[in-house]
Structures are given as structure tokens and as C-alpha cells.
């Protein structure tokens, strides 16, 4: 005998879940609306009028372009470093058991589990103790450190699904270690690495707390926005930049999702 399995949710649950999702999404949509406002000084609602002029003004702002260029360069290099370190770490942890294996997972996750301000001030105090001046590379140093974890999470999940006998078969057929890596391991983990890399890029592109401690006078996009939020100069320009940032980060997230959706867990909870 089997009890009737109810397939529809109670109304109260539907409403609560719907309201929760609306709470998550409406504020981001509101940013899109505000990018078209004609009001310059306040956040007045309803909008007094609609205009496209702020897009042109933002386009011609050199400081926005400089911040964007710095952010993209930092994110690209941090992602490359994180890809190398994260993959090595994941390969080592998943292909063998050794003393201290659990500690390595903890070590990789720590930079993101501890509040960003601790990572930030730790790096800054280390730089000042070692008398390293702030530069492009001090930003990269911080970003790469916490980006390792997303690559690592994605790569570990994929290695777990990849059968070890594939590698043995490759050796049996006469391939050497490098050939096995190139023709057997890499094609298997490529999409996971791509997804991890995209998430790392998005994470670095968006990071603000650690960056405020390691950037000195340089401005990445989030630092530029923070500066505008604390001391606003031209609010509508901030609205436009905010909208563009949302769109730019959505693409890698969606791509990463489609690359790993077959069975893998995206490393979202590890952010």
C-alpha cells in the first residue's frame, strides 16, 4: 500500500518561497531601471523621466575605463595563477592519500572562510613588514590566494567522477606521463577547469574588501564604485556602471553553470 504522494506544494509555502525569490531579485532589477533616470542628485522614485544620456557620458569617462582595464587585467592574471595552483592541488588530493590531506583542503578554503577583512589586513601588514610597495602585483597576490578555492572545488568534483582506470589504460597503451595528461586527463577536466576559471574571474572582478587593503591608490571597478558610494560625484554614472557590472558578471556564471550542470556541483557554496 502506498500513500498518495502530494505533488503540489501548500499555498503558504508557494507564497513564502515566491516572496523570498522576489526579495532576492527585485533589488537587482531596480538598478537597471535607475540607469535610465533623469534625476541627478537624489534617488527619487517614481523616476521623473527616462533618458539614455548617461550611457554616453559614462562611455566618455576615462576613470571608468581605467578602473575597468585594471580590474580585467587583475582578474585575468589571478585566474591563470588560481587555475595552475588549484588544479595541481586538486590532482594531488584526489589521486593519492597522504598524511595531512585533510589539512590541505582546509588550507585552500581558509582564505575564503575567514572574513575578507582578516585576509586583507594580514596581507597589508605583511607588505608593510616586508616593505613591499603597493602595485599591480600586490592586488594579484591577494586575489589569486582566494581564487584558488573555486578552481580547486570544481576540479576536485570532476576528478572524483573521472575513473582512475582511464589513466592506467593510457599507460598500458604505451603513452608516457605527459601524453596521458595531454590526451587523457586534460580533456576530462577541461570543462570543470573552464567553469572554475570563470567563477574565479567573476570572484576577482567583484572583490572589494581584500582589494582596499592591497591596492594603495589604484582603482579597480569595485573600488571605484565604493569611492562613488561614499563620496558621490555623478550618481547616474554610478547607476550605469552598476548595471554593466551586473551584466558582465552574469555571463561567466551562466556559462559556468552550463559547463558543469551534468552531475557536477558548482562550487557555489564555497564562495
Amino acid at each position: 500500500m502506498r500513500s498518495d504522494r502530494s505533488q503540489t506544494a501548500p499555498l503558504a509555502l508557494k507564497i513564502a518561497a515566491g516572496c523570498g525569490l522576489a526579495f532576492l531579485h527585485l533589488p537587482i532589477l531596480l538598478i537597471f531601471v535607475y540607469a535610465f533616470t533623469t534625476e541627478e542628485k537624489t534617488f527619487q522614485w517614481p523616476l521623473p523621466g527616462l533618458t539614455l544620456q548617461w550611457f554616453g557620458i559614462t562611455w566618455n569617462r576615462p576613470d571608468v575605463w581605467q578602473a575597468l582595464s585594471l580590474s580585467v587585467r587583475v582578474a585575468a592574471i589571478s585566474t591563470v595563477i588560481a587555475l595552475v595552483l588549484g588544479t595541481l592541488c586538486a590532482a594531488a588530493v584526489s589521486r593519492s592519500r597522504f598524511f595531512g590531506r585533510e589539512t590541505i583542503s582546509l588550507l585552500v578554503i581558509l582564505p575564503i572562510a575567514l572574513p575578507g577583512i582578516i585576509t586583507g589586513i594580514a596581507l597589508r601588514s605583511a607588505f608593510s613588514l616586508a616593505e613591499i610597495p603597493f602595485s599591480f602585483w600586490t592586488i594579484v597576490l591577494g586575489h589569486a590566494t582566494f581564487c584558488v578555492v573555486v578552481v580547486y572545488n570544481n576540479a576536485v568534483a570532476r576528478f572524483r567522477r573521472t575513473s582512475a582506470s582511464l589513466i592506467e589504460a593510457s599507460y598500458d597503451l604505451g603513452a608516457d606521463g605527459f601524453q596521458t595528461f595531454r590526451y587523457c586527463v586534460l580533456p576530462n577536466i577541461a570543462t570543470a577547469l573552464l567553469a572554475g576559471g570563470m567563477l574565479a574571474f567573476a570572484l576577482s572582478f567583484d572583490e572589494v574588501i581584500v582589494t582596499t587593503f592591497t591596492a594603495g591608490q589604484q582603482q579597480t571597478v569595485p573600488i571605484w564604485m565604493l569611492e562613488e558610494l561614499i563620496r558621490p560625484r555623478q550618481r547616474p554614472v554610478t547607476n550605469v556602471v552598476a548595471m554593466v557590472v551586473v551584466l558582465v558578471t552574469f555571463l561567466p556564471i551562466l556559462l559556468a553553470y552550463y559547463l558543469t550542470r551534468d552531475g557536477d556541483q558548482i562550487a557555489g557554496t564555497g564562495k
Binding site: S3, C89, G268
Partner: protein
């Protein structure tokens, strides 16, 4: 065997070239004969990076919390002392710590309450396309820009913003005014009140709570809930006695994120909130304008210690299986 023979006779060329000699071959052979050597070679770069850059910096920070600052010259005295930790216990600093911990606890509680229905619906009722859609609906806000999310609430909570307008249309403006007149939670508008800080925190960390709760609820067999109602339990009883205990590890796992992130954040209270300090802002102010790195370092030890105890408790509740 017969069918295989002709294939072998034709002598199919191997897909890959045979192993080359020279350095590359020697290296490859070495890796195969001594897997430990390869392991060390793979682990060395990430461990050196994390060990030197991260753990090294953390120790440098910890070390500095035992230095002190000379109150007259403003120079840092590099001698071991517990004086800085004594400064941490001044009434004003204890105030900051208590305020931050209370805020973190309230934010965690509110996120759990809002997250639970979403996670439960996604885990039990959403199927196929809807499931994927729910997943993306949580992932996109989780990964979209932190500052943009904070900025969105600055827009919403502004005195001339959409929330005031909405409440006015609903003839509830008096409720907002009454709330803002209260001590502690009120202020001249929501965007400069502790309530505003709280709402922004809940919004920004909510996705971190949904995902682990959903993971925990996915593992609750649906027939347990049915058995409970078959045995005559009301939905409320089923929730209290069946669902909540089984989902608790997920809630605790999510609370690790919401709690830890709130403890260390200094940007949200700076943009949306009163001038009262939180731990993160105190750290930032001490190391920046005040130049008192030892006290800033001592302040960061507080969240580390609190999170240490929190993680220890969470581990005992089995929260790490739900991550």
C-alpha cells in the same frame, strides 16, 4: 579470438606516438616509478603559495597584535606585550564587539527564516526545468556584484526612494515613521539606521543560507514527512519534530557563512547605517587613519576566536556534511 586476429595482423598504428626518449622520457619514467616525487612536485607550488602568502601574513598579523603603540609618538613599539589586548577590553571596544555579534546573530536568524521556504520548495517540489531555474535564481544573486547589491538597497531605502513611496501608497507611512522614531533601530531615514544595515546584511548573505539548507533537505526522504502526517501529526508538528531536526545541520552550515561574513564586513555598515562602529570598521579605522596596527590586529583576533568556537560547535552538530 578469431575475429580479433585479422585486426592484429593488419597492424593498426597506435593512436599516440610511442614514448619519446631523452629528458622528457626520463622525467615521465621517474614520475611513474616514484609517484611520491610527482605528488611532492604537484603539491609544492600551491602549498608554497598559500603557506607563504597567506599563512605567513596571518602570522605576521598575529605577531603584531602583541606589539603596542606608543601613545605620545604614535610609533609602534616592537616588544611583546599584552597591553593591546587590554585596550581591546575598554568599554567602547567591548561595545563594538557586542554590537557586531548581536547583529550577526540577528542576521543569521532572519536569513534562516527567509531561506527555509525557498530551500524546502526547491528540494521537495521543484522538478526538472523548475529545479534548474530555482538553482540559477539562487546562484545569480549569490555571484552578482556585492557592491551593486549594497547600492541597490541604498536606492531602495533612501528617504525619497521606492520603499517610502510604496508605504505611502499603502497608507502605512505612519508605521515607518513610528519605527524610525525608536531608539537603536531608528534614525532619520532607513538608509542611515541600524534597520537598514540589518536588511542589507540579510539580503547580501541570504543565498549562502539557501544552498546548504537545500542540500540538507534533499536528503530527507519524502516518505518520512508522509509517515508523520499519516500518524496524525499536524503540519506544524511535522515541521518541528521531523523536518527541522533533519535540516538543522544545513541551517548550521549556512549560518557559518552568514555569521562569519557579518562579523568581518565593514562596507555595508559604512554605506547603509549609523556612525556606530562594527568590528570591521574598527579594524579599518585603526589601521588606516589611527595608524594603530597592533589594536587593529587584536580586533581581527576576535572574529577568528568566535569563528573558531562556532566551527567547533558546528562540527559537533555534523554541519560539515551538509556543505
Amino acid at each position: 579470438m578469431n575475429r580479433l586476429a585479422p585486426v592484429a595482423a593488419q597492424g593498426h598504428a597506435p593512436v599516440m606516438a610511442p614514448s619519446s626518449g631523452g629528458l622528457r622520457g626520463a622525467l615521465s619514467d621517474l614520475f611513474w616509478r616514484r609517484p611520491r616525487f610527482l605528488l611532492v612536485l604537484m603539491l609544492a607550488p600551491p602549498l608554497l603559495w598559500l603557506g607563504i602568502v597567506y599563512i605567513g601574513s596571518l602570522f605576521a598579523l598575529l605577531l603584531q597584535s602583541f606589539f603596542s603603540i606608543d601613545e605620545f609618538s604614535g610609533l609602534i613599539n616592537r616588544q611583546f606585550t599584552l597591553k593591546t589586548y587590554g585596550d581591546l577590553l575598554q568599554a567602547a571596544n567591548v561595545d563594538i564587539i557586542v554590537r557586531t555579534v548581536v547583529m550577526a546573530a540577528l542576521v543569521t536568524l532572519a536569513s534562516a527564516i527567509i531561506a527555509f521556504p525557498i530551500a524546502y520548495y526547491a528540494a521537495r517540489y521543484a522538478r526538472g526545468r523548475w529545479k534548474a531555474l530555482f538553482y540559477l535564481a539562487v546562484m545569480l544573486p549569490l555571484w552578482s556584484s556585492y557592491l551593486v547589491k549594497v547600492y541597490a538597497w541604498k536606492l531602495i531605502l533612501a528617504k525619497e526612494g521606492i520603499l517610502t513611496w510604496l508605504l505611502g501608497k499603502l497608507h502605512l507611512g505612519w508605521l515607518l515613521d513610528a519605527w524610525l522614531a525608536l531608539p537603536y533601530v531608528g534614525g532619520s531615514s532607513l538608509s542611515v539606521s541600524a534597520t537598514g544595515t540589518f536588511i542589507a546584511f540579510v539580503y547580501v548573505w541570504l543565498p549562502f543560507m539557501i544552498l546548504p539548507i537545500q542540500a540538507a533537505l534533499e536528503r530527507v526522504p519524502a516518505n518520512l514527512v508522509e509517515a508523520s502526517s499519516d500518524l496524525g501529526a499536524s503540519p506544524g508538528q511535522t515541521f518541528r519534530n521531523i523536518l527541522l531536526p533533519l535540516a538543522l545541520p544545513g541551517v548550521v552550515a549556512g549560518s557559518i557563512f552568514t555569521f562569519s561574513l557579518t562579523l568581518g564586513d565593514y562596507i555595508i555598515p559604512q554605506i547603509i547605517g549609523t556612525s556606530r562602529l562594527f568590528i570591521g570598521m574598527a579594524v579599518y579605522a585603526q589601521q588606516g587613519t589611527a595608524g594603530n596596527i597592533p589594536l587593529a590586529a587584536a580586533f581581527t583576533v576576535v572574529p577568528i576566536v568566535i569563528m573558531g568556537f562556532y566551527l567547533w560547535g558546528a562540527k559537533r552538530l555534523g554541519a560539515f556534511d551538509a556543505l
